[in-house]
């Protein structure tokens, strides 16, 4: 036990004396929250839109007014022909164009169908889809209000977005960011710190000493568990103060699940460290083998539903996928363990698997 405590102390000293790395690890969560919060927004604002209105009248005036009043849109110009549109799209001066037919007022009065063309710059499919959605919503509401409600029943769907009513992307990325930061802080740093001892030759000395390999590893990961929790708290505080991301569920449950995921990540770090010879390879393995799946196959950046089928299957073995479901459930929906026990169980299973694999790797090294 004394040997173990001495080991924890030593590992803490390593961490505290490497000022640069420590500064990066502490700043990383905060900087990432700000970057994702401000720069990588998937909700779209200030869409430059042009309207082609060959015969302006009262009805089209109303539509123009609604689009101009929306803070999603920025009405660039209203023209009478479609000639210029192609050039403007290519120049990038507009990202959307709404082409209205002739005699809108008269068609509306007769209750005719209204052929409206909506052109959207689809070079970024995600934002393209979102822009299309915004514009369609405005046009439809305008149409409903303009057509006299005479004759027959009309079905009107009142839509509400649950859990994230204003569709803030910040609310969605925070859980993913926790997984991302923990992958770096826990998995990568563990892998690096173990392989560093292999490189400097101190691991050899430890393996020859009476201290057990599992005690060595447990002592090594202790400070990174603490650092992991600090990172989680930093992400949560930054997300809450800067973007007002809510925490609807239990804080204790959230921390417990984060603790579980920290252990998952640490175990993965140990698995990597037993498989690679040096720090550089450990870092590459952690980045390519852990960080990339955490970003892409977890639903963090790309919705899982939009992935090709084989990748969707593959995502089932990515721990971050389950962790994301859990954290989003707790933070946004206020879900409890009663609904999240399956995901938690999967994560526990994976963690035990990695721990087993990691400790076997250590035992093999002892030959």
């Amino acid at each position: 036990m004394r040997a173990f405590l001495g080991f924890v102390r030593k590992e803490t000293l390593h961490l505290l004396r490497d000022r640069q790395t420590l500064a990066i690890l502490i700043l990383l969560p905060v900087v990432q929250v700000l970057i994702f919060g401000f720069a990588v927004r998937t909700d779209v604002q200030d869409i430059a839109i042009a309207i082609v209105d060959p015969t302006p009248d009262v009805a089209t005036q109303e539509l123009r007014g609604r689009i101009a009043a929306s803070d999603r849109f920025h009405l660039v110009r209203v023209g009478s022909s479609t000639k210029e549109l192609e050039l403007e799209f290519r120049r990038g001066s507009i990202r959307q164009a709404l082409v209205l037919p002739r005699d809108v007022e008269r068609r509306l009065g007769r209750g005719d169908s209204l052929p409206v063309q909506l052109l959207t710059d689809g070079s970024d499919p995600n934002t393209g889809g979102i822009m299309q959605g915004y514009a369609t919503a405005i046009v439809q509401r305008w149409y409903r209000d303009a057509v006299p409600a005479a004759g027959g029943l009309r079905i009107e769907a009142e839509t509400r977005m649950r859990y994230n009513p204003t569709l803030e992307s910040a609310h969605l990325f925070v859980p993913g960011l926790i997984a991302y930061v923990l992958t770096i802080v826990s998995a990568m740093m563990t892998a690096i710190s173990i392989t560093r001892e292999k490189e400097t030759g101190t691991m050899e000395m430890l393996l020859v000493s009476p201290i057990r390999p599992t005690a060595v590893v447990a002592g090594k990961v202790m400070p990174y568990i603490v650092l992991g929790f600090v990172s989680v708290l930093l992400v949560l505080v930054a997300a809450r103060t800067v973007f007002g991301v809510p925490l609807r569920g239990s804080f204790v449950l959230l921390l417990a699940e984060c603790g579980l995921y920290i252990v998952t990540a640490l175990a993965l770090g140990v698995v990597i460290s037993t498989a690679v010879p040096n720090q550089r390879t450990a870092m590459l393995a952690a980045l390519a083998g852990l960080l990339l799946p955490t970003l892409i196959l977890s639903g963090f950046i790309f919705p899982l539903d939009s992935l090709p089928r084989p990748l969707q299957w593959l995502s089932h073995v990515v721990p971050a996928r389950w962790f994301l479901t859990i954290v989003r459930g707790i933070m946004l929906k206020g879900a409890g363990l009663a609904t999240l026990w399956q995901e938690t169980l999967i994560l526990v299973g994976m963690t035990l698997l990695f721990l087993g694999r990691g400790s076997r790797g250590l035992a093999i090294r002892l030959g």
Partner: protein
């Protein structure tokens, strides 16, 4: 005889079809300085790894400090010291922190750590540097410190794996004085080296060729048996015939 610090009987290790260590039999007496020589790849490192309990032998047996390396690896590890050519110190910890850490790992009491730290630092002339990072102290001192740390728990035998590579002659001489002082207290020293002039300082040596012990005895015995004037000659003779065979 279990009074030997090391007693190896037909110790063998194979990796697949390759026999790295081929039935070596030798012993090291208490307080003896034993030179373990051989070209790179002759099997020295594999043999040492078996003796320090880091590798299981394929066949044969050995006791270290009276304990069986197969079944009592834990006790073996408590009774040996080990210093690799990389010195095994933590560069970003201070001299004192390194000593305390190793003492803790080997279960040395805090009081013993304190008194032995004073002894060590006085002996190698590092009293002023206890609070300095190991990174900051010169290589020669680092190496003497690593050796002293490997002896902190008073092992029955200490394994030195090429401890003097890359060190200047004066420091090397100083290091050998430390080795003799250690042997005089009854601790055996098994040392590997590529410097054959150093081998002359050992009480007995063995030369490994292709996994087997090709010559063993006092340096004088080994020279005479081979009809050579220097150990250099003996070494070249043995390793050449070994390569031809």
């Amino acid at each position: 005889m279990t009074t030997h610090a090391i007693d190896a009987q037909a110790l063998t290790r194979r990796f697949g079809n390759f026999t790295a260590v081929d039935a070596i039999t030798f012993h090291v007496e208490p307080g003896e300085v034993f030179g373990f020589l051989g070209a790179n790849g002759a099997g020295k490192t594999t043999a040492i790894r078996m003796l320090i309990g880091a590798l299981q032998p394929t066949s044969g047996s050995a006791t270290v400090a009276g304990y069986d390396i197969r079944t009592q690896a834990e006790q073996v590890r408590r009774r040996i010291g080990y210093m690799s050519q990389k010195f095994s110190l933590y560069e970003d910890l201070t001299v004192q922190e390194n000593i305390t850490l190793y003492g803790g790992i080997y279960g040395v009491s805090n009081r013993d750590i304190a008194t032995r730290t004073g002894d060590i630092l006085a002996r190698i002339g590092l009293e002023h540097a206890a609070a300095e990072l190991v990174r900051e102290i010169p290589l020669g001192w680092k190496q003497q410190l690593a050796f002293s740390v490997a002896l902190l728990h008073r092992p029955a035998i200490v394994f030195l794996d090429e401890p003097t590579s890359g060190v200047d002659p004066i420091t090397r001489r100083r290091f050998w004085e430390l080795i003799y002082q250690t042997a005089a207290t009854g601790t055996s020293v098994l040392i590997t080296t590529h410097y054959l002039d150093e081998a002359e300082y050992c009480r007995r040596i063995s030369i490994m060729v292709d996994g087997a012990i090709a010559a063993m005895g006092t340096p004088a015995e080994v020279r005479n048996a081979a009809g050579a004037a220097t150990l250099d000659e003996v070494f070249l003779k043995l390793t050449r015939t070994g390569a031809a065979a």
